[in-house]
């Protein structure tokens, strides 16, 4: 292939007018960049690297640009940290059938998930301002209030988040050495990783959009054959939170049902007065996380799974820290009379692919769980309380948060 440049045409094209930006363009851009700079130290280094690369690229041939699994995980974490809104169409394929939902996730925690097609009438909305989740499905209209800030209690994390994007985060955390391929997916550059599911003969093929850092496909392979997948189509990532309404109105012919999950938002001081013990406020959280919700419940639903249900949760304190779409949730609850009856509140043992790691946190035995089937977390019995720390953090970050809790 002979490469040519049409100099006359090029010159003519360059002569055509190119408008200047509007006068406030740069000021507006600068404001936007500074507002969305969640990992400043890292971004500084990367900006310097970019500037250097611009120079180096002039004199050096290009090398391989294949990322490691850890770098992909960083990219996903950074995307979740900086996105104001993620929207698109979520497609789930299981057993030959396919269901589709349009969705919007907002960095305030609000979301809307609406079934597409005649056979998918589900409409789910959560408004983080009011802490109300509404669910409409044919003749049913369910309203849940008093929701917990997050794991392991009943929160409003829609299953798109939990089962979709969240599960990819967990899988990436559990597979730091996974092979990464550079692929093209839906016409865009992407990374593809093979990770184990924990089931014999099964693996996951995770695809992450390279430009946005958002996972766009998670396919399960059983003995090398497709066994189900979800994927995101029409992905859109925006800086600004969604203007979407996150409340649903009950239709006249729908039967209303209401549940109160028992949590009440309150200030740290109010909560401390109510429960009478020192709150699990960490002295350290990763850069960019900020406390965005504190809540308390006199009692809430038991944690655990069908095989092992934990004792009733009493005097529960739940603190949620947020960074974009990412959440870190720290909880404490009373053990009651039988501390030995407690098992992992965040993840049922039947789901476990990796054994939990026994560790020590501020002098107490604890368990660190990095598993493809659960959000990364630590749980421990500390005196009369069960403590949990759960979020999209790596091992070192989880440990550091745990070590910074009050003794």
């Amino acid at each position: 292939m002979t490469e040519t440049h049409d100099k006359e045409l090029g010159s003519a094209l360059r002569e055509l007018d190119v408008p200047e930006h509007h006068p406030d363009f740069e000021e507006s851009l600068e404001h936007r960049l500074r507002r969305r700079s969640p990992r400043r130290t890292w971004a500084l280094a990367a900006a310097a690297a970019l500037a250097a690369a611009a120079i180096v690229a002039l004199v050096m041939p290009r090398g391989s640009d294949v990322a490691s699994a850890a770098q992909v995980r960083e990219a996903v974490a950074d995307a979740f940290a900086s996105a104001g809104r993620v929207s698109g169409v979520f497609v789930n394929r299981e057993g030959g059938g396919e269901n589709r939902w349009s969705f919007v996730l907002d960095s305030s925690g609000s979301f809307r998930i609406k079934g597409l097609g005649k056979n998918n009438p589900t409409d789910l909305a959560y408004d983080s301002k009011t802490n109300v989740e509404s669910w409409s499905d044919l003749g049913l209209f369910v309203r849940r209030t008093g929701l917990a800030p997050g794991w392991p209690d009943s929160s409003a994390a829609g299953w798109v988040v939990q089962r979709g994007l969240g599960s990819v985060v967990a899988a990436l955390a559990a597979s730091p050495d996974a092979d990464v391929d550079e692929v093209e997916y839906a016409g865009r550059a992407a990374w593809q990783l093979h990770t184990p599911t924990g089931n014999p003969g099964e693996e996951r093929l995770i695809t992450v959009d390279k430009e946005t850092g958002i996972p766009v496909r998670d396919a399960r392979l059983r003995n090398g054959r497709p066994a189900g997948e979800w994927r995101i189509e029409q992905l859109q990532v925006d800086d600004e939170p969604a203007p979407t309404r996150f409340t649903l109105q009950r239709k006249p012919d729908q039967q209303p049902t209401a549940y109160d999950m028992g949590f009440r938002r309150a200030s740290l001081r109010e909560i401390a007065e109510m429960v009478g013990y020192e709150l699990p406020v960490p002295a350290w959280v990763p850069d960019g996380y900020e406390l965005d919700e504190s809540a308390v419940a006199r009692s809430s639903r038991p944690t655990g799974d069908e095989q092992h249900q934990n004792p009733p949760s009493r005097n529960v304190v739940s603190l949620r820290y947020r960074r974009g779409l990412d959440e870190l949730v720290i909880t404490t609850r009373s053990t009651g009379p039988g501390p030995s009856r407690w098992s992992d509140p965040v993840m049922g043992s039947s789901m476990r692919a990796n054994p939990p790691e026994r560790i020590n946190v501020i002098g107490n035995p604890a368990w660190l769980v990095i598993d493809p089937n659960s959000v990364p977390h630590i749980w421990a019995i500390q005196g009369p309380h069960v403590v949990t720390i759960a979020g999209n953090l790596d091992r070192a970050e989880l440990l550091r948060v745990a070590e910074s809790l009050p003794r």
């Binding site: 090029g10 003519a12 002569e15 971004a43 900006a47 690369a53 611009a54 960083e74």
Partner: protein, 165 residues
């Protein structure tokens, strides 16, 4: 959630803005000629630069910074065209400004010919002939093989050369 701006935060944005300024004219040319509207050009470049800033930590220098930024700008233009459903609708009104060595008739003919091209052909002509990217670089920006760049370029030139004669 509010974020306190630290000295390092300022430096991050400033370092990035320096890079943006270096390539901005080319990005404006591409965006304006693809979108045909100054307001849309500004909106899309705001979005593209914000995306690039978010993606900075993942830029590892494997590709040239220029093509990396170009690709983000091009994808943002395509996203905007898809959203508005107007991949081929380009108004000539805003394009008709002053030219230099081209006479008025040639300039209008060239603008008309460029506007009439499909987005994919318009982009390849702007990248290779106006901005002098190599075929490999243009291929990287457009996400297509270099051979496709060559064939699209040939078709674009056929359409545009007529306007200069």
């Amino acid at each position: 959630m509010t974020e306190e701006i630290t000295p390092s935060g300022r430096l991050d944005a400033e370092a990035f803005l320096e890079l943006v300024r270096e390539f901005d004219l080319r990005h404006r040319r591409l965006a304006f000629r693809l979108l045909g509207d100054r307001d849309r050009m500004d909106d899309v470049l705001q979005e593209a630069y914000a995306r690039a800033f978010r993606a900075l930590p993942r830029f590892r220098g494997g590709a040239a910074a220029e093509t990396w930024l170009y690709r983000i700008v091009y994808n943002a233009c395509l996203d905007d065209l898809r959203r508005s459903g107007s991949r081929k609708e380009v108004s000539l009104d805003e394009w008709r400004e002053r030219g230099a060595s081209l006479d008025v008739e040639q300039r209008l003919d060239l603008e008309s010919a460029l506007a009439a091209l499909p987005v994919e052909l318009r982009a390849v002509a702007l990248l290779v002939d106006a901005d002098e990217l190599s075929y490999d670089e243009a291929a990287e920006v457009l996400g297509i093989p270099a051979g496709t760049v060559a064939s699209r370029l040939s078709r674009a030139r056929d359409a545009l050369r007529g306007a200069l004669e």
